[in-house]
C-alpha cells in the first residue's frame, strides 16, 4: 500500500481535487467511498456514485450561473451532500467556503458579504431561516439551495430557494445537452487554483478567510499518510464541523489522497452511537472530544460492578506503566508485557469496544493543547492517541507525534516536506506545499502572515533536546506576573481540567502578584458525586455553591499546586463560577477556546474580588440567556477561596 502511494505521489501533485476524484473513479470506481446512516440504515455510495453526484451538482451550479472563482457558502451538518456541493463547485471552477452551523444570522450575513458569496447551501430550514433573516443585506446571493425539504413548504413559491433535487435535475439536463462539458471543465482545474476559503476562528474579531488550493489539501493528506499509512479499506467517521479545517483535512485531504471511506452519522446527536457502529480506523478531534469520552469511561466504570472496577483499577496502573514504554518506543520487560496483555484482554478491549474505538489504530488531537495526563490515560487503555499541531493556514498540520515517540508535553516532529524553525522572537514558523497563498481580500494581513516566505503561527514555542516542538501558548496570550515571571494561562488551565471534577477554568494573573482561577465544575461528574454523597442540589448554580463541592475542588487545586514546576505557577485564589462558559454567550470561540478578554471584562467584579484577599464572598447578579432568547437575572453569592501557602 505504502509503495503504491509513494508511486502515486508525483501523480497526486498533478491533480486538483475533482481530478483526483475522477482518478479514483477510474482506478476503483466500485469501492465504497461514502456511507450515510439514514432511516436507521447505512447507505453506501461508491466512487462512481460520488462522482455522479458531483457532476450533477457541478453542472447544476453552472446552470445557475456559477462562474470560475465564484463563491458558494455551505452551512450544513455533516451529510454527503456537503462534499457533492463543495467538490461540484470546485469542478466547475468555483470556490467553496463553509460556515459553522452555530453561527448567528448577523455573523452569517457578515461572512457572506465579506466572501462575496453568490450561492448558499443549507442543510435544513433552521439554517435557511438564518439566511432569510439577513436577506436584505445580500443582493449578490442568487440562490439558496437546501437539502432537507422539511418545513420549506412556505418558501417553495419563492424562486430564491431551490431543493438539491431540483439542482440535480438541472445538472442532469445540462449533461444530456453537452455530455463532454463536465470532463472539459474538470480538466481546466489546476492544482494551484484556490478551491476553498477556510474561515479562521480567531479568538478576536471577524474571521479571516484563508485561501486554500487543491495542492494544499492533497499534499497534507499525502504527507500525513507518509507517516501513518492508511489502507483504502479504512474507515473514517465525519462528525467535526465542516467549517473547521480538521474536517476538511480528512474529507478533502486524507480521503482523496488515500481512498478511505468517509461515514456520515444519522444526526449530530447520534454521532457517538454511529461511531460505535462503524468502528473507525483513525479519528481526529479537538481535546474536548477526548475529555468527554474519558468522562464517559469513568462514569461507565463507576456504575459497573465491583469485579470490573477492581480489574480496571489494577490494570489501569499496569497500563500506565506500559504506556510509558509504548510511548517512548522502548521494549517492555517480560512481566509487564504479560500483565499489560492480560489487562488488554480482560478489561481494556471490551471497554474500548463499547465506545467504538477497538479498530482504531491512531487517534489525533489538535486545535488546542491536551493535558499530558490524557495521553497517558488513552495510551494506558491501548488507544494510540497522538498530538498534531498546525494552523488553518497550513491545512491544520505541520507537526505530529510518531508512533513509539509520543511525548505528552510536545507536539512531535515536522511532517515530511515541512520545514520548521523558531524565529528570534520565539515564534513558530513553517514552510510547506500546504501553506495558504494568503487571506481573501486582506493583503496586509497576508503580508504579515507570510513575511519572509514563512508562515507565522503567532504561537510561542521551542524545540526540545529530542527535536520535538513544544508549544507554550499564543505569543499574545503569554502572561507575566508582577515580578516579571512568565507563565502560560492555557497550560495551567489544562492542568486544572485534568481533574475530572473541573470542566473549564480561566486563569488570571497578568501583572498581578499571584495566579488566580475561575473554575467551572463538571456538571455530570460532580453532579453524580454529589448524588452519591447525598448532597441535594437543584441547578448548576446551586451545585456550584455547595461547600462540599468547594472542598472537593480545593483538594484538586492543592494537588496541582504541589506538582507545580515553578512556585509562581501555584494558584493562590479561586472561585467557582455559577454558570458554564458557553459559545452562545460569547465566552468561548466556536472551537471551544476561551475568549480571555471577554471573560475578564464580563466577570470583572469576580476578577477584582479574586485579587482582594479580604473578600471571602460576594453577592452578584447572574444573567442567563435561555436558548429561546429569554433572559433572567438571579442573585447569587460567590465564595472565594485562598489556598494555604505550600512550602
Amino acid at each position: 500500500m505504502n509503495n503504491s502511494l509513494s508511486k502515486n505521489s508525483d501523480l497526486l501533485a498533478k491533480f486538483s481535487i475533482p481530478q483526483l476524484l475522477r482518478w479514483r473513479v477510474e482506478t476503483s470506481g466500485d469501492k465504497v467511498a461514502l456511507r450515510e446512516k439514514d432511516f436507521g440504515c447505512w447507505n453506501c455510495y461508491t466512487w462512481n456514485h460520488y462522482y455522479d453526484f458531483v457532476r450533477k451538482t457541478g453542472l447544476g451550479l453552472r446552470k445557475l450561473g456559477l462562474e470560475r472563482e465564484d463563491k458558494i457558502a455551505i452551512i450544513s451538518d455533516n451529510i454527503p451532500e456537503v462534499l457533492y456541493i463543495a467538490i461540484g463547485a470546485q469542478a466547475v471552477g468555483g470556490i467553496s467556503a463553509a460556515i459553522y452551523q452555530t453561527s448567528l444570522p448577523d455573523e452569517i450575513g457578515g461572512i457572506l458579504e465579506y466572501l462575496n458569496v453568490s450561492i448558499v447551501f443549507c442543510s435544513d430550514q433552521e439554517q435557511v431561516d438564518k439566511v432569510v433573516e439577513v436577506r436584505d443585506r445580500l443582493p449578490q446571493v442568487k440562490k439558496v439551495i437546501y437539502e432537507d425539504p422539511r418545513g420549506m413548504r412556505g418558501y417553495r413559491s419563492d424562486d430564491w430557494f431551490m431543493s438539491i433535487e431540483d439542482l440535480y435535475k438541472l445538472g442532469d439536463a445540462l449533461h444530456l445537452e453537452d455530455p463532454a462539458l463536465f470532463n472539459a471543465l474538470v480538466d481546466q482545474g489546476k492544482p494551484d487554483d484556490i478551491c476553498h476559503l477556510c474561515l479562521t476562528s480567531g479568538t478576536t474579531g471577524l474571521p479571516k478567510g484563508a485561501m486554500l488550493t487543491h495542492r494544499n489539501y492533497i499534499n497534507m493528506g499525502h504527507q500525513l499518510t507518509e507517516v501513518d499509512p492508511l489502507d483504502e479499506t479504512d474507515e473514517y467517521v465525519s462528525f467535526l464541523p465542516f467549517a473547521w479545517i480538521g474536517e476538511q483535512m480528512n474529507s478533502f485531504g486524507v480521503a482523496m489522497a488515500t481512498g478511505i471511506a468517509v461515514n456520515f452519522p444519522e444526526s449530530v446527536e447520534t454521532s457517538m452511537e454511529d461511531l460505535k457502529e462503524i468502528g473507525p480506523h483513525f479519528m481526529f478531534g479537538a481535546p474536548r472530544i477526548y475529555e468527554t469520552i474519558r468522562s464517559q469511561i469513568w462514569l461507565k466504570m463507576d456504575e459497573s460492578y465491583w469485579l470490573n472496577r477492581l480489574f480496571y483499577r489494577y490494570f489501569m496502573k499496569i497500563g500506565e506503566e506500559a504506556a510509558v514504554y509504548r510511548m517512548s518506543g522502548r521494549k517492555m520487560p517480560g512481566g509487564l508485557r504479560f500483565l499489560s496483555w492480560l489487562g488488554k484482554q480482560i478489561i481494556f478491549r471490551p471497554l474500548v469496544n463499547q465506545i467504538g474505538l477497538l479498530r482504531l489504530r491512531r487517534a489525533y488531537t489538535g486545535g488546542a493543547a491536551l493535558g499530558p495526563e490524557l495521553f497517558t490515560f488513552y495510551q494506558a487503555l491501548g488507544v494510540n492517541l497522538k498530538q498534531i499541531y498546525g494552523q488553518t493556514e497550513i491545512v491544520g498540520i505541520a507537526y505530529m507525534h510518531r508512533d513509539g515517540d509520543v511525548r505528552p508535553d510536545t507536539v512531535g516532529k515536522p511532517l515530511p516536506g515541512t520545514e520548521c524553525r523558531i524565529s528570534e522572537e520565539g515564534e513558530i514558523l513553517s514552510r510547506s506545499a500546504s501553506v495558504t497563498p494568503g487571506y481573501y481580500k486582506l493583503p496586509e494581513k497576508t503580508a504579515e502572515l507570510l513575511e519572509g516566505g514563512w508562515l507565522h503561527s503567532g504561537d510561542a514555542g521551542y524545540i526540545d533536546e529530542h527535536g520535538h516542538l513544544v508549544v507554550i501558548d499564543r505569543i499574545s496570550d503569554v502572561m507575566h506576573t508582577a515580578n516579571g515571571d512568565m507563565f502560560s494561562p492555557m497550560f495551567l488551565e489544562n492542568r486544572l481540567k485534568f481533574s475530572p471534577y473541573i470542566k473549564e477554568a480561566v486563569i488570571f494573573g497578568d501583572k498581578r502578584e499571584f495566579v488566580a482561577a475561575l473554575i467551572n465544575v463538571d456538571p455530570i461528574v460532580v453532579g453524580k458525586w454529589a448524588e452519591d454523597k447525598g448532597i441535594s442540589f437543584s441547578t448548576y448554580m446551586d451545585l456550584s455553591v455547595q461547600p462540599q463541592v468547594a472542598d472537593l475542588i480545593r483538594e484538586a487545586v492543592l494537588k496541582i499546586n504541589r506538582n507545580a514546576e515553578k512556585p509562581h505557577f501555584q494558584i493562590r485564589r479561586f472561585a467557582l463560577l455559577y454558570k458554564l462558559l458557553d459559545m452562545d454567550d460569547g465566552e468561548l470561540t466556536k472551537t471551544g477556546k476561551i475568549r480571555r478578554k471577554f471573560v475578564r471584562e464580563k466577570y470583572n467584579d469576580l476578577y477584582e474580588a479574586l485579587y482582594d484577599e479580604q473578600i471571602t464572598e460576594k453577592r452578584v447578579e447572574a444573567n442567563y440567556q435561555y436558548q429561546d432568547g429569554q433572559t433572567t437575572t438571579v442573585d447569587t453569592t460567590i465564595h472565594f477561596y485562598t489556598m494555604e501557602e505550600e512550602k
Binding site: D38, F39, G40, C41, R150, G151, R153, G154, E266, S267, E269, T270, E273, Y626, Q627, D628, Q630
Partner: protein
Amino acid sequence: MTQLIASEVTLTFGGLHALSNVNIAIEPGLITSIIGPNGAGKTSLLNCISGFYHPTKGKILYGQRDLTHASPHQVSSMGIARAFQNLELFRGLSVLDNLLLARHQNLRYSLLHAIIYYGKAARVEAENRAFVEKVIDFMELELYRKKTVGNLSYGVQKRVEVARALTLAPKLLLLDEPMAGMNIEEKEDIVRFILDLKKEWGITVVLVEHDLGVVMDISDRIYVLDFGEIIGSGSPKDIAANSKVIEAYIGED
C-alpha cells in the same frame, strides 16, 4: 367537507353529566383545539371519539361512517390515532419495539409465514420497519431508537407517545395534552412537530391542551368546554374576545 362531526353528544355517569349536547365539527387538514378548565370534559370527549366511551345520547360521524358505538380498534383501523395524556407505552421495551408493535394491525401474514419468515412476512416486516423509521426521523428520535422507554426523560417519552400514534399513519390524530409537564424548549419542539404534521403530512390534528399561549398560536379553530358544555367556538381571535370564555378561565369580577 367536514372530517368528523359530533352532534348532540351527551355522556352521563349515573347522575353526572360529563358532556351535555356537545356539537363539534373537525375540518380536514386543520388544527382544532379543545380547551377548558380541569374536569370540563375534554378527555371524555376524546374518549367518545376514540371509542373508549360510548355517548349516552347523540351521534359521532367520521366521514360517512358512524363511530357512536365503534370499539377502539375499529376506530383506529379507520385512521384515527390517539396519543394519551398518561403515557401508554411498554416501559420495558425499546422505542423501536414500541413503535413496531403499534403497527401490529398492519401486519397481515399468517402464522405459517411468520415461522418460515420468507417472502411475504419478511417483506411486510421490512415495509413496517421502513415506515417506523420515517416516523423516528420525523419525531427526531434517532438517538433513542434502541433505548428502553422507561429510562428516557419524560419529555422524550411524550414524544415517543406521539410517535406511537403516528405509526398508525392516521388521517386524524387526537393529542391529549402532549405538552403537559414539559419545559419551554420541549414545548417548542412539540409545537414544531404538530405544525409540521399538518403541513408536511397533511394530518388533521385535534389538540387538547392547557397551555393557552400555544393553543392560541397554532390552532385554526378552538372549542371551549366548561362543565361538559361548549361555551364558545371559533378562531383564536374570536375566542380571545369571547366574554364567556374569559369568565370561565379568569372568573367574574
